[in-house]
Amino acid sequence: MAAHLSYGRVNLNILREAARKELREFLDKCAGSKAIVWDEYLTGPFGLIAQYSLLKEHEVEKMFTLKSGRLPSADVKNIIFFVRPRLELMDIIAENVFSEDKMHSPRDFHILFVPRRSMLCEQRLKEQGVLASFINIDEYILDLIPYDGDLLSMEYESAFRECYLENDQTSLYHTAKGLMTLQALYGTIPQIYGKGECARHVANMMLRMKREFAGSQNQILPVFDTLLLLDRNVDLLTPLATQLTYEGLIDEIYGITNGYVKLPPEKFAQKKQGEASKDLPTEPKKLQLNSAEELYAEIRDKNFNAVGAALSKKAKIISAAFEERHNAKTVGEIKQFVSQLPHMQAARSSLANHTSIAELIKDITSTVCFWGHLGVCASLVSASEAFFDNLTVEQEFMTGVDTDKVNTYIEDCVAQKDPLIKILRLVSMQSVCNNGLKQKVLDYYKREILQTYGYEHILTLNNLEKAGLLKLQSSSRNNYPTIRKTLKLWMEDANEQNPNDISYVYSGYAPLSVRLTQVLARPGWRSIEEVLKMLPGPHFEERQQLPAGLHKKRQQGENRTTLVFFLGGVSYAEIAALRFLSQMEDSGMEYIIATTKLLNGTTWIKSLMDRPESQSS
């Protein structure tokens, strides 16, 4: 089931197993038959840790979704609430418990907070007068969830908002805790680098926690050589740009949550032979996406323009494999063929799915309007042309063209009442690429946005300003061009088919965050001191002492392993760029990626909005 977690350089299955063990221990604490009441948000992340079968083995007989009112009847001894520490959920739980008392057979109540207990919540339960009804109140520390062989996420949605808007560092504490867990399982990480305020905080907390556990030395041979902590606000630009890798585009267009994507069903309708055309399914098609699927692992990080070729190559291989049956003459050969059938069949259905997804994306991204006269495109509005225009403007901003003026494309989008998030993404991007906007320009955008989308968005605009996404240009000069040139953030000749540089993930733009990572590995940050000073927050280096005997004796040519932790979120395209660096023959470095949240520009901006639900009106 989770074998793909152990394929990578670091066996992340160890982490998953530790989490499963913890879960089993808690379940056994509540002796007897049980029902679990789920905070629906948690079922996704939990699904990455355990299946229903594990719960069943520990006498979980029923599962419900947390809803106000009375709990459904179930003949069980224990009712366990699996919830996030949220006040509004406490009120629902209290309601559940109250209505229960009026019924006949008493059941035992327990709460499992994920990932941490919260004083606030317990206080709320106390206020509601139900705290005493709980036999067990416990926490299930699920800080870092293994998503793939090289990817960990805390799925802490509000981390960026809390850190950079509300100045609340709770998520950083969880991050440090998660990293301590990781070190307990994979050995002390000898070198820590970081850039940004939050990175500094996390490193400080880690070092202090280590001092406090000085008594028990970690005797595990270190798996990671280096930890790199990066603040999201060091690179505000990258997530704003539209990701152009296959996986990145799936996320941009359809949204990937907890490793699943929901797609429009039309292209997945199976027409079986001999059957009359069945009714088309109306429910969205849900697919799981991870490296356990061979084909997906192969194409996920490619630029979308290279996906078609990869799919057709695969199609030829599979067709050839099926043709083999004609050559199978002897019983042995036939047996051999049949034994491979299940694998081939899985490959075929995988190919079918991704061909369909690629078609869906292609409908949106590709365009036939290449008169080189962009003005023409603006007048023929369709999804693909909108995508094309949007991309053109993004590229203008990233290359520094006219970032100090009101952009007519943005103006037109406002006039057409395109989704507000799209507008906010573009305006933020312009602001970041210009190191702030002139008063006149900023005021103009704000006025247009408020008049067209509603004055209540004053609140959202203020949030974006606090987070640094929108800002007023200070008297100091625009330093973005210097950063761009020094770090080579724009590569004119990005090769999408056979990439030789990370810039292929955005068809020209090399993500700043990943460039920093790349430079750190070689030639080192000392070569870019000037640029580092222009980016917000301190940069630093720390070393953690290893017990004697745990120092790695490196083999000739053996790769080093770096854990890159993105505080405040990371995009799929950035992950793709890091994977690309891992695979480069001469890089000598393998990367494991961890983050507070997997995000894209849309989900990110949404997390900073007040009342995001009104964005479409």
């Binding site: 609340d168 067709s319 704000k446 590569m491």
Partner: protein
């Protein structure tokens, strides 16, 4: 790989961009088709064993059968004591791939200080291990409840406790201490001490926000001199007021709040707009237009531009003196010519009021000739009209006004304004294109005749 400096500079100055395109459009498309064909061709072979057990079972919605979210629905659906045992795939729980040396760990045990604590012993479980500093007397060994905190009586002790909590960075512990301090200290003292403790202060603000203690939060922000934050916070409350009159009154009360100068203009506009909408909403809707195009929603709480659109739609001809007149709205909110123009154009086009549309463009120059003028490019005008399904006769008037010949041809072809295409090719003296275009016209059509006439016209000096 990297460009040299000169090249780079050159590039920044050029405006040609490589767009995200398929290198070879046809080839790429055929490739997808190719893999699709391949998929289809091998389907029959494996059709009958579609439900082979080696393949993970997936319900239509895509949840692997046996996954948690699938099971939540599944078990909740079966109401009675289940007599049907869903066949979940067996999962090997004692994974052998785990190395022995790790098997003793459980996640939380790692941080409980002691590794072999009995599990049932939850009452002594450490809630905040960070506070167990060896040198510290501020041990918090049980749950941080109010009871255990009562020991800290003097102000100095309390503040020391707070500082320890802060140095541990555990928001939970900090909040617990803050709740205690809030209960036992006077507001003045608490606010004063928090001013010097930024981290604790942020947690306190977060706590007040979460627990919706708006009153105390506003007081705190005022005491801190964070007046703009306070103003915004108070303004935010209007979102929770459903009754429009109460909301308007509340917004009015916000006008005196210390917003930043820009925001205060916006808030005032917000108030004025709602006030105006309340007036417009109660205007009797007796005119024919309301019967012909019934309203889909109330105008209350809609954005300004939507309100303008509404007025251009239903109250277009009213004189500037009335509150619902578009001109009045334009005046009150100082809308730009362009904003007004786009909105009016869309609204009148939607109603197919073509004379109104025409009138929007008409201006007289000083010689008294009328000519069409637009604050918007004519290409965008055509776009707006087309979206509101304007007929070709209307469209062609505006397509003809597009200056750029190539662009004009493209638009004209798209909207089937044949005359414009033909005339433009004639003006460009492009015989080849004209020949090509003739092939696309119906036999014996007026267009074909017109092209033939042009081609036979010996006066024209064709360039090709």
């Amino acid at each position: 790989m990297m460009k040299n400096k000169a090249d780079e500079e050159d590039y920044w100055n050029s405006s040609k961009f490589k767009a995200f395109t398929f290198d070879d459009e046809d080839d790429e498309f055929s490739r997808l088709k190719e893999s699709k064909r391949a998929v289809n061709s091998i389907r029959p072979l494996v059709d009958e064993d579609d439900d082979e057990e080696e393949v993970e079972k997936v319900s239509w919605s895509g949840e692997p059968v046996g996954s948690i979210s699938w099971s939540v629905n599944e078990t909740a659906a079966s109401n009675q004591r289940t007599d049907r045992e869903p066949a979940f795939p067996k999962i090997n729980t004692d994974t052998t791939s785990i190395s022995k040396s790790h098997s003793g760990y459980s996640l939380s045990a790692l941080f409980k200080g002691e590794t072999h604590r009995s599990l049932s012993d939850s009452s002594v479980r450490l809630y905040a291990p960070e506070l167990r500093k060896p040198k510290s007397e501020y041990k918090v060994t049980t749950r941080l409840t109010a009871v255990s905190l009562e020991k800290f009586r003097s102000l100095q002790d309390k503040l020391l406790l707070l500082d320890y909590a802060v140095s541990a960075h555990d928001g939970n512990v900090i909040t617990a201490v803050l709740i205690y301090l809030k209960r036992t200290l006077s507001k003045e003292v608490l606010f004063r001490e928090l001013t010097d403790r930024q981290t604790a202060l942020r947690h306190f603000i977060h706590y007040l926000t979460e627990s919706k203690d708006q009153r105390l939060l506003l007081e705190l922000l005022r005491a801190l001199g964070r007046t703009e934050d306070m103003a915004l916070l108070q303004y935010k409350e209007h979102l929770g007021i459903a009754d429009e009159n109460k909301r308007r009154d509340f917004l009015k009360s916000c006008l005196s709040l210390p917003f930043s100068p820009e925001d205060s203009v916006h808030v005032e506009d917000h108030y004025t707009l709602l006030e105006r909408q309340i007036i417009i909403e109660v205007i009797p809707r007796k005119q024919e237009i309301f019967q012909k195009f019934p309203r889909k929603a109330s105008i209350l709480n809609m954005p300004l531009i939507t309100t303008l659109y509404y007025c251009c739609f239903y109250h277009y001809t009213e004189s500037e003196g009335t509150y619902s007149s578009p001109l009045n709205i334009r005046q009150t909110f100082k809308l730009s010519e362009k904003q007004f123009f786009v909105t009016a154009l869309a609204a009148r086009a939607k109603l197919k009021a073509w004379p109104d549309v025409d009138a929007l463009f008409t201006s007289r120059n000083w010689l008294g000739f009328t000519r069409k003028k637009s604050p918007l490019s004519f290409q965008r005008v055509v776009d707006v009209l087309h979206k509101n399904s304007a007929p070709t006769q209307v469209l062609q008037d505006y397509v003809a006004l597009v200056d750029d010949a190539e662009l004009r041809i493209t638009l004209a072809q798209k909207h089937k304004c044949h005359d414009i295409v033909i005339n433009t090719y004639r003006d460009l003296k492009d015989r080849q294109q004209l020949l090509g275009y003739r092939a696309k016209m119906a036999r014996g059509s007026a267009e074909e005749r017109k092209i033939n006439e042009l081609l036979n016209n010996s006066q024209i000096r064709w360039k090709n």
